[in-house]
């Protein structure tokens, strides 16, 4: 059992948990994730390790409610226990001194981007960070990203903070302005796809963090397969980060929709049950 030691609602739909998991806290590196199962009937859901506190043996996760499992996780409180937390899984981000780096995060993807921002800054890079969200009140981790960025650019759909527009517009500006040695983009599939297009146009290599549906997370089932450079790769062990230019985006985004009907059914049933209670 893994205890939730702190719980916070960050925005209307995004939550943060600190979980007691000393072994994972001791070893996790930027870019890695855990798989959580809440109880015996639960599914295994992958979530990025947003931060660790190795001294107290804690890991931090941030998630967005999008279906049944995340809705149920949002009901957890300080002191609740998770049945399974396994990790740190995946290959860590290649943190080193590249020179000047551009990091782009969208929506809840910012939670997954943040440890990379921090790691790259600590490795001596000049860090330019672009964060995007629908509006100000759902833009997470702004201050924390600012702390580890030489420059922070905010983009919102409604202009409630920063500039109004898409993260790709900010990327264009930066690329036109200066030499970027390496870029990252973490967010919804469609955002990462367009970020890849923009970076590729400017000849800048860009890492994306793929989040396909997973089960075991140890390379044993092939559920998380993605096609990269015409080869089948398993995101849970070979990734989740890949160079965006090689990703077969169509099939990646298609596979994310595989269980849409069942997910909807599960979510509706859950909502109904909650209303009854």
């Amino acid at each position: 059992m893994f205890k939730v030691t702190a719980y916070e609602r960050l925005t209307t739909n995004e939550y943060q948990l600190w979980i007691d998991a000393p072994r994972i806290a001791a070893r996790a590196k930027p870019g890695q994730f855990v798989i959580i199962r809440m109880d015996e009937t639960g599914e295994r859901i992958p979530l990025t390790i947003c931060e660790t506190n190795p001294k107290d043996g804690q890991i931090r996760i941030i998630f967005q409610v999008i279906g049944k499992s995340t809705a149920e996780l949002a009901e957890f409180k300080t002191g609740s226990e998770l049945l399974d937390v396994v990790g740190p899984l995946g290959t860590p981000t290649a943190i080193k001194n590249y020179g000047t780096v551009l990091l782009v995060g969208g929506g809840v993807g910012i939670a997954a981007l943040y440890p990379t921002v921090k790691g790259l800054k600590q490795a001596g890079n000049r860090v330019i960070t672009v964060l995007g969200a629908k509006s100000k009140d759902i833009l997470i981790l702004r201050d924390e990203c600012a702390k580890y960025s030489d420059e922070l650019i905010l983009m919102t759909d409604d202009g409630s903070i920063g500039r109004k527009g898409l993260v790709t517009e900010a990327m264009e500006d930066v690329f036109n302005r200066e030499q970027i040695d390496q870029a990252w983009a973490v967010g919804p599939g469609i955002m990462m796809r367009f970020c890849t297009q923009v970076a590729t146009k400017h000849d800048v290599p860009v890492y994306v963090s793929l989040n396909p549906i997973m089960i075991d997370g140890t390379g044993m089932c092939g559920c998380c397969r993605v096609t990269v450079d015409n080869h089948i790769r398993f995101a849970c062990v070979d990734g989740p980060e890949f160079l965006g230019a090689g990703v077969d985006w169509d099939s990646f985004m298609q596979r994310m929709r595989q269980y849409r009907v069942q997910e909807k059914q599960a979510f509706e049933q859950y909502e109904q049950l909650r209303q009854v209670q």
């Binding site: 072994r23 009937t41 396994v86 044993m220 089932c221 092939g222 595989q258």
Partner: protein
């Protein structure tokens, strides 16, 4: 004395019509009386060829005699000397290619061999229902880490606990058992039986830590430093894909994923359990081993309209257990022999609609001596399908190996271990089961575990003796 019947004592099984719609166990097992009747068919051969063809050399005539005498306690004591997992092997061992193939009775005209596996199951099930109090002995001879809780790792752990070692098993998944839990379906091997066998190993004082991925949560080097010896039994479950066009369509699964969803995650009980699986309508399974049979029969139980297996050779070469093949035919599964898939076809939403196949013929024998299937030009045809499951074989589980290059592997990616001693390139690290042999059988994985336990005991005993003589 009553005359021996030619045929094995019939065993109760669920009716095919009924069982193809549920996940309950197909074969229901002998009653004690049926068991005694079957045991009386054994000739008690002095040269016991059956025993020589059992990978762990169980004293087969010995335990069969006890059954015949109605002495179940005596029977279990004999099996316990050789096997920790009798209830499992009695169910899933390829008996017809091992002990039963060599049975003298079966080799005489008109007679079927003694149903050794089913008798073993009878004894072991009885044993699980009538447990003996365990004697937990002090674990003071040393500390051993076991990586992976499949049949191989569990066997090492149980044997070493009995020998007086403190053993910790580390398992990546949430539930121990390896393929016994996530691969072999409930209808062949009830999870409750597996759980009982594992609980018994726990009762011996073995600690099992789930949710620990060695190489990620804890490194292999840390284990090597912390423990007196390690055993690596991480299995070979990583799926291969044929990589034909359309592999990423929705509806295309590896058998590992399909069976893991069903067995480990209970997706056949969705939405009570949260993990979904696509509804089975028209299902095509590719491959001819046990894994293919299990996938096909599982799909049937999920309510498929039709399930067909396509295999590139013919029935004669089918690697699956023949009993499983017969069961599958009874359950309505169809076969396309000498057929290979060339592409998956999908609709505009990316959903699988069919499997394009090509007919094969058998050509010259290959290295394995089996005739190599070659495609017949122009023979392509399409099988409509909403689900396709690839069961074409698995490779080494790599998570740990990739982070521990000290452990030498062979050209197929399996751990390079001495089959007689399970020793690897790293002193104090032993390995066995599928991660050494490639995908094989439960009993072979268990056999390796038996050897390793003995070798590890010797290794630690020698090491301790050396240390004491040095300090003296």
């Amino acid at each position: 004395m009553v005359k021996r019947s030619y045929n094995q004592t019939p065993i109760k099984a669920q009716d095919p019509e009924v069982r193809s719609h549920n996940f309950n166990e197909v074969v229901l097992g002998y009653s004690l009386d049926e068991g005694r009747l079957e045991a009386s068919r054994c000739l008690q051969c002095k040269n016991h060829p059956c025993m020589l063809h059992c990978p762990v050399m169980i004293d087969i005539p010995g335990f069969i005699k006890k059954i015949e005498d109605g002495d179940m306690d005596g029977a279990r004591k004999i099996i316990a000397k050789y096997s920790n997992l009798g209830a499992i092997c009695g169910r899933v061992c390829p008996q017809e290619k091992q002990c039963e193939m060599a049975c003298t009775l079966g080799r005489s005209k008109k007679f079927e061999p003694v149903a050794i596996g089913k008798l073993e199951r009878l004894v072991s099930d009885w044993d699980l229902d009538n447990p003996e109090p365990v004697k937990v002995i002090p674990h003071d001879k040393g500390r051993v880490a076991v990586v992976g809780s499949g049949p191989s790792g569990l066997t090492v752990a149980g044997d070493l606990a009995v020998k007086g070692y403190e053993v910790t098993v580390f398992e990546a998944l949430s539930t121990p058992g390896g393929v016994l839990i996530y691969g072999i379906p409930e209808f062949r091997l009830p999870k409750a039986t597996v759980k009982k066998e594992i609980d018994r190993i726990r009762d011996l004082g073995v600690k099992i830590e789930t949710d620990v991925v060695i190489g990620k949560t804890i490194t292999m080097s840390e284990l090597v430093d912390d423990f007196d010896a390690c055993y690596v039994g991480v299995g070979a479950g990583a799926p291969h894909f044929m990589s034909i066009p359309g592999t990423n369509l929705m509806g295309v699964y590896s058998s590992s994923e399909y069976l893991t969803r069903i067995n480990l995650m209970h997706s056949y009980k969705f939405p009570t359990y949260d993990t979904p699986i696509e509804p089975a309508k028209q299902v095509v399974v590719i491959g001819g081993g046990n894994v293919a049979m299990d996938s096909a029969r599982s799909a049937m139980r999920l309510g498929a309209e039709n399930v067909s297996v396509i295999y590139r050779r013919s029935l004669e070469e089918l690697p699956a257990r023949i009993e499983e093949y017969h069961h599958s035919v009874e359950e309505g599964i169809q076969y396309h022999w000498l057929t290979n898939p060339v592409a998956y076809l999908g609709d505009e939403n990316g959903q699988l609609t069919g499997v394009k196949c090509i007919k094969m013929e058998l050509g010259e024998p290959d290295e394995s001596g089996r005739r190599r299937p070659v495609p017949i030009a122009g023979s392509e045809f399409i099988i409509p399908a909403t689900t396709a499951i690839e069961a074409i074989g698995q490779g080494a589980n790599r998570v740990m190996l990739d982070t521990y290059p000290d452990l030498k592997t062979n050209k197929w990616g399996y751990v390079d271990a001495n089959e007689e001693t399970c020793a690897t390139s790293v002193p104090g690290v032993f390995a066995g089961g599928d991660i050494v042999t490639g995908a094989a059988t439960v009993i072979l994985a268990m056999g390796a575990g038996k050897i390793a336990a003995k070798e590890i005991d010797e290794y630690i005993t020698n090491k301790t003796a050396k240390k004491t003589s040095h300090s003296a």
